[in-house]
Symmetry: C2
Subunit: 658 residues, 2 copies
Amino acid sequence: MPSVDPRLMANAVRFLSMDAIERVGEGHPGTPLGAADITTALFARHLKFNPADPLWFDRDRFVESNGHGSMLLYALLHLSGYEKITLDDIKRFRELGSRCEGHPEYDPTCGIETTTGPLGQGIANAAGMAVAEAFLNRRLGPGIVDHRTWALVGDGCLQEGVGHEAISLAGHLRLGKLCFLWDDNLMTDDGAIELASADDMPARFRLSGWHVQEVDGHDIEALSAAMLLAKSDPRPSMIACRTVIGRGIPGVEGTRAAHSARVLRNHTEAAREALGWNHPAFVVPDDVLGAWREAGRRSLPEHEAWQARVGALPAEKRRELDRLREGRMPEGWQDSLRAFARRAAAERRAEYGIKTSGDLVDLVAEAIPELVSGAPDLEGATQHKRRMGAFTSSDRGGRYVHYGIREHAMGAMMNGMAAHGGVAPVGVTYLVFSDYMRPTLRLAAMMGLPVRFVFSHDSIGIGRNGPTHQPVEYLASLRAIPNMLVLRPADAVEAAECWEIALTNRTGPSSLIFARQPLESVRGEAGANLSARGAYVLAEAEGGARRATILATGSEVALAVKARATLQAEGVPTAVVSMPSWELFERQDRAYRDQVLGRGTARVGVEAAVRLGWDRYLGEDGGFVGMSGYGASGAEQELFEHFCITPEAVAADARKRL
Amino acid sequence: MPSVDPRLMANAVRFLSMDAIERVGEGHPGTPLGAADITTALFARHLKFNPADPLWFDRDRFVESNGHGSMLLYALLHLSGYEKITLDDIKRFRELGSRCEGHPEYDPTCGIETTTGPLGQGIANAAGMAVAEAFLNRRLGPGIVDHRTWALVGDGCLQEGVGHEAISLAGHLRLGKLCFLWDDNLMTDDGAIELASADDMPARFRLSGWHVQEVDGHDIEALSAAMLLAKSDPRPSMIACRTVIGRGIPGVEGTRAAHSARVLRNHTEAAREALGWNHPAFVVPDDVLGAWREAGRRSLPEHEAWQARVGALPAEKRRELDRLREGRMPEGWQDSLRAFARRAAAERRAEYGIKTSGDLVDLVAEAIPELVSGAPDLEGATQHKRRMGAFTSSDRGGRYVHYGIREHAMGAMMNGMAAHGGVAPVGVTYLVFSDYMRPTLRLAAMMGLPVRFVFSHDSIGIGRNGPTHQPVEYLASLRAIPNMLVLRPADAVEAAECWEIALTNRTGPSSLIFARQPLESVRGEAGANLSARGAYVLAEAEGGARRATILATGSEVALAVKARATLQAEGVPTAVVSMPSWELFERQDRAYRDQVLGRGTARVGVEAAVRLGWDRYLGEDGGFVGMSGYGASGAEQELFEHFCITPEAVAADARKRL
């Protein structure tokens, strides 16, 4: 136990934060000042961590879900000894190039376990981390994985829908090593919490099966005792820590201004006076810094013991652990996918997109034992969970999470699992419901997390469920997300290829887009992974130089093939280009792209979706056959006729551009 | 009170539903069969409605939030006498052209008050309708507006985050005329509710201040009594109706299969046997149909009395009521916007985008007394709510809703307000948070609702908050939504023009996109609304035929103007095209578009966002200066330099394409 009064340690957090915010002229002082005592109690007494080995696989995870209070996290990390968060970074808080960015950006090598800022995401990430922990604890044994996940939580996180989804599900799954520390300061950016909420928040947690305590958020001993109790309870825990926002600045603390108002020199001076902190800006006295560094070394014995246990593992187990930590797939994971592709190429059967999707999830789940999946209340409709057992409060060995009707929580929990490491999260739902989890898709892409989504029911091809369930703008809106790999296979061969690409992509999320309706076979061979180039000539023009090029994705590729047959029969040499992934195509060299696109030929794009983005490949005189508005409720084939997405329409469009 | 046993009326609902679902071979029988008794109690005893006047402004609103059970709604509407829902429509359930679509599609002329299907939306729409009612009740008086909003709710709606947001806020706002009827059937598509939730749902509502009752959902008398009690309580009410899913089909009722499994002939036969319903498919016996039609006439005296009160209104009040019902703006509403534009054109001041945005919201709020707005916990940062009072549980005259940190609920409640009519909802938040409400943007566009969003902080120009708060893909993803009008003004003149366009657009939503940083003046005149053409030549090339065209939107237009000056100085006749709205530009004729775009000239697009979609205007040899990945945390001007979005970069790009 450090010999320095922990209140001084908390004040060191306060003044580093305050000085940094004052210096740059902006930031959110409310959280760093208000929650300094809470987090000091955690870091100095309970958090299992080792700043000298930030990637220690069995460390406790700490998430600052109210990410706007980022200086709190940077101060804690710097003080406790993370070398990559330097005093200079703190002095350059919010300056270009500083690691101390406006909001915490995912970088576990310096203790930032996830990107936070968009509210509610962090606590749902934390729930995902706790799932990963429980799963790996069961799989690798408690000697290898046995840690807690802590999240500092603000009112915003608890008002956002995704927060509610995570609370309900974490309670239901009885994630006992998850603990939320609620910075209950009664204040939001707009003013007093009661402007917008009168919820009994402790009751909110209790009704979902959480263990709840309420303590003085400035009493470090009481906080520490509550954390101890939380650790001993088998339920997830919420500690409501009543705090004064911006605590420490006379005249500002406890007011709305403390949330995000500017901190001026006279504020920091008054705080120094009030708290008896007689040190210049950015100076932490040696004894206090020493106590913090001692706190950072507190878990060394546990770290050493863990290393010893890992060192004593049988070679095979050790290799497995290393593989999981590094996020590598098991040897030969591609084999079954490739065999599937070869079989599909040989058989050339038309197959429901959804059946192919389900078959492939089965295959990859079998090949990758750390794959953890789920399809929010659509396991039947998406043909998912045919072989995986459920991950439940009583069975941590299952690999299928019943997320309930909570797509947003699924996305955020997948991000948490991927950030934790050791599991390979897959999420399955209808393409239209990707909008419910869209903030999480963006964060996965921004963090570069290898999460994989299967979005099925991808067009009007779903038929009678009508326009609410028929995506038209989703391919475009997914393609707009930087670092999101969008893959829309045309048939079972491309589907297997796309899965292999998605699992190979370790630097960002992948979206696999599947039709519900039958996909006719368009590929009779399955040698090289043609989808890996993003777009390729599926059928070259015959009988002369190419005069027309039809570009298509997914279910519309078979339609393009039929249109080509018509045009060829009319003596128009026509090529079909299948474009499963625009992002991959953009990575090819100019010569390849020009050759595939057939610049100078009559070009027509076909996709049962909006045109946005297609012009890049069609040139200024190209045509497009697709959707310009929402779908309708009716039989699938009737809908394609109704919206004029037919081989005839494509051939006609090409013809007039010759 | 009808003389027929109401249980027979409920069975009429069951058999119409079952027969329709059997006929088409798909649909969701669980809800129509399980909730037939609940809704019969409502329609036959409590709902204030008049099928002969579906648009009666003071009717109760009924929302089937669990929209997948759509046959329930169609059966209720047909039986109670809505002429536009014919028996033929029901026989053609889910067929192309039938009004009985897979999910209910908004059409108040036949009793469909909102589009439902994506779960949770309907109950949040209902909360918005209740806000509209409370606001208009205060504004027009209880003689004119005094009705209830009822929503049938499934488990999915209560698990989704948006549902939680709506529950919290409706309780906080004490929307006493809102009543949720929870079809508590313990079953979801995946199986028993306990697979994914153990929440104490009545407690969930109570902690947010709701009145809660629990009744047998098949006991029509008990249900009716609970509804009576709900009506007398000043809090919003939730009636937990314990039901058996798919009630009526032996062997299927109460099972997972009842949710959405196929209904076969042997099922309907067994149900007829079990319920003693000896009528052929689609036949409702005269006495039962008579009782239903009588139920549909139950509110005639109230309807007549209401018409008499409206008829007795002073002429001016009557005109005001008609205006509100028809969704027309007040006379002269554009005047202040036009004066603002003229003043801005004369003064040519650089002004913070966010200041201009706030000024304009003030202006339109003053001009349009039925405008109801809100900016989820960002009233300060978005310079919103400077003059509007708050709409609260004790003051229904306020026009600013403190939504809390609940963007998704805001979007859905705005849709509910617009569907209700009589209010003009505006929602304000950062552009990045539009993702949190994205499902509602799509539904607003699909329903064609005149809702207006102000999305501020629109690029890396926000500076130090970093990438989580810097939109890069959002303009593209909004432009992808059919029927969403996206408007990104370049300066204060265009901003006023865009607001006028948005308020004129009554057939769909509009998104007004604002920079946070200062916008330099680019327009020195404000005569005709140039933004209304979507794109226009802001500065034509000088000194010869145009050789280069720079196309830009928003904050990048001023940058384009600077690049043009450089190129002109070098002797390159260069035009700048401002493109505040792509959608409006697409509506112009080909000649205008070609003239503006300068086909054949060296073209460069500039937008601090991703390229997706831009190629349509740049041709195959055009250039683009913008973002290809996420932003960074730093000072705004440094970021533009860092990401090479500068006049120099634009000029250089144009130069190499000459």
